[in-house]
Symmetry: C2
Subunit: 416 residues, 2 copies
């Protein structure tokens, strides 16, 4: 009835070992691990020695192994493993978000060419089945928007800044102590991890293929205690949100930015290391998925569900890419943003369409203004010099705003 | 690559017509409706006349039709259609929760016998893919508990009682005006609809097969404005919650009852006509799914996803039933409950293990006490005489409580 799966596993860290244990306990899955490839043969493992090898070809060349599961940390070795396995006629389950984001085009071609299946539910939001649901549940024309918290480390830090009044550094240290942030937190904190995940979620949601570095993103590294105070005074919180939204012109605006969110927003419900996804569509209306986005067990559970799906030869269809006219990204829009800073000299006021608020007296100065998305893409001032930019999530402005409005507001503000 | 689906559709109400429109717009699905069976041929329809028939055999005997989609309202005709279709070698998609709940055993046997697929994601929580996720994501040993709001009508009424201070009748009328409750609201309001859905969700979650009338349930028909006030004073809300929980003895406690819930509970987030499901498991930890649980479009979107799944011959595996030792239901537990009433004479005080609070002075009297689950199963006083029973969701008590405690508390209360 089901395909018998014989698995070659790469990686025996917390996820790999967790997976090994679960598969042992669930004979019904019809899946067994034949061999595990590890880097360091000398490390002591809680499994029979004959299970292990350090030679990847032992797994990749074994004709009996029909599934490669890859849960290693390094992106390039993972890419080599995945491509060799697909070319060798094996199905693949991967959890390597960075690898998938960076090699998306090549991996799509390879799936087409080989006809094999590459599943990677664990690579985004771990325990939340977001990829499978985007594949199965939303038709191209109907997906209005998707907003998500896809990085647990930054969400943990932001939650602690709000709920316990910690400053950024204290919250980061706490996250590291509890294992929610790496010792080198750059990938998480500066938004790289989130935009990597967003890259392929955009493919499943809208058929968009874009390199991660081409997607507008920022992290939370410059979020200041003062920003949290402003948010709190407005009964809002700050979250790092990945967002994609279909505009009236049919194109899609997509970015990963810190945002103010209302206390009753679905994403405000997502605290600490959890992830959450809010999908708005014509048919299903508003849906919200919430769960752990990282960690050994949540990740193993997602890998396991991919393995289970391979038994009935499940493949991602990338419907929005292949069966519909894929959507295009656009930069023809304007965002309302809050910008806080230490000195006016770092802020190119003239770049704003208009400025609605300015608070120049406080130690931490800030303004609220409207700026063209394309300017944020072209310029870097808003990431530098301790400047923090936070999206004010009003409806995205699609029409060109009149420059007069800007000029008048600057005049009123006494800035020009 | 995919199976070409030729569909015979039963029912052309809001769901059926919605489905027809979507399928027209998504040729990529490789699925087309060949014929639609309706009851009333004279009604004007927004589709070519030749599409329709009133003779069900035209669909059921057509060898070209390989999928029957059934979105009619009556349970017994639906059962006839579904069984005939499966026996005729066709796959089936159904949205009839009552039919599925009442005929679960026969439908399981028929799926086994015929090898055909019967999918019914739309029958519970509509737009929330709860069945598919229970099938794919949770292994038998790991599912600690599942708590869900599965009925939008009652949730709408309870929300309005809290947020707008309406009494039960006002809230019901509002629900009816807005189309969230039937003109005969009995099925929803008295909990029948919720327990029907819970019946087969228990099968997918725990491999339990039980007739709906054997599962302890109640509705919200006797929830009183006074109960809402008590909840509000404790910073809680009341929701109609379907719950199943694995106890330490390995058995499962399951019921559908109104519950007090904390403001920060996941289910408190579920307001108005929405549904929500909270799943706790060993691996994925806590997951929360939220979305519209009824309505033409959310239902059509769930039906559509089932149709999409049939293209790659997806079937429910009922893993927890067939591949594991199915769980058993137990009644060996005690619940802490709040009971409000108009007169002490309706309350069999002696049946309680102990009573912790009693408020006999108010117009609406109430007590909080611990009672054996089996007593609630055997007796009916708590559903009658305007009495309302609401679960206080403390950890379920598995050990036999000492009767002494009960006696002492009654003495202290001056009740005996």
């Amino acid at each position: 009835m089901h395909k018998q799966l014989t698995i070659g596993l790469f990686g025996f860290g917390v996820v790999g070992e967790g997976l090994y244990r679960v598969l042992q306990q669930t004979p019904s899955l019809n899946a067994s691990i034949k061999k595990v490839c590890i880097k360091d043969a000398s490390k002591k493992r809680n499994a029979p020695a004959e299970l292990f090898t350090t030679d990847k070809d032992v797994l990749l060349n074994d004709p009996e192994i029909n599934v490669i599961v890859e849960v290693i940390n390094e992106s390039e070795p993972a890419y080599q493993i995945v491509t060799t396995a697909l070319n060798g006629g094996k199905d693949v389950v991967s959890a390597s978000k960075k690898m998938i984001a960076e090699h998306l085009t090549a991996l799509l071609e390879l799936q087409e060419k080989t006809g094999r299946s590459l599943l990677y539910e664990a690579a985004a939001c771990a325990s939340i089945p977001v990829i499978r649901n985007l594949e199965e549940y939303y038709d191209n024309d109907l997906l209005h928007s998707i907003k998500a918290i896809v990085n647990g480390s930054t969400n943990f830090i932001l939650t602690k800044m709000f709920d316990e009044n910690l400053d950024f550094k204290q919250a980061l240290i706490l996250a590291q102590q509890l294992g929610f942030a790496e010792s080198d937190p750059k990938l998480d904190v500066e938004g790289y991890d989130a935009v990597n995940k967003w890259t392929f979620l955009l493919t499943h949601a809208y058929g968009i293929i874009e390199a991660p570095e081409k997607i507008l993103f920022n992290g939370i590294q410059h979020i200041h205690g003062g920003d949290a105070s402003v948010a709190r005074a407005r009964n809002q919180q700050i979250r790092l949100v990945a967002q994609a939204q279909k505009l009236q012109n049919g194109k899609v605006a997509a970015f990963v930015l810190p945002q103010f969110i209302q206390q009753d927003d679905h994403l405000a419900f997502v605290k600490n290391e959890y992830n959450g996804v809010v999908i708005e569509s014509g048919f299903a209306d508003k849906q919200f998925f919430y769960g752990k986005g990282a960690g050994s067990f949540p990740t193993a559970s997602a890998v396991l569900s991919d393995i289970a799906a391979l038994r009935y030869q499940y493949k991602y269809e990338y419907k929005k890419l292949y069966h519909h006219k894929p959507h295009q990204l656009t930069n023809e829009l304007y965002l309302k943003v809050y910008v806080s800073f230490t000195d006016w000299k770092f802020i190119p006021r003239d770049e704003f369409e208009w400025i609605e608020e300015w608070h120049a007296q406080e130690e931490r100065k800030y303004l609220v203004g409207v700026i063209a998305f394309s300017k944020l893409q072209e310029q870097n001032w808003w990431r530098e010099n301790e400047t923090s930019l936070i999206l004010v999530p009003e409806p995205i402005i699609e029409e060109t705003a009149t420059r007069d409005l800007r000029k008048r507001s600057l005049e009123l503000a006494g800035i020009v």
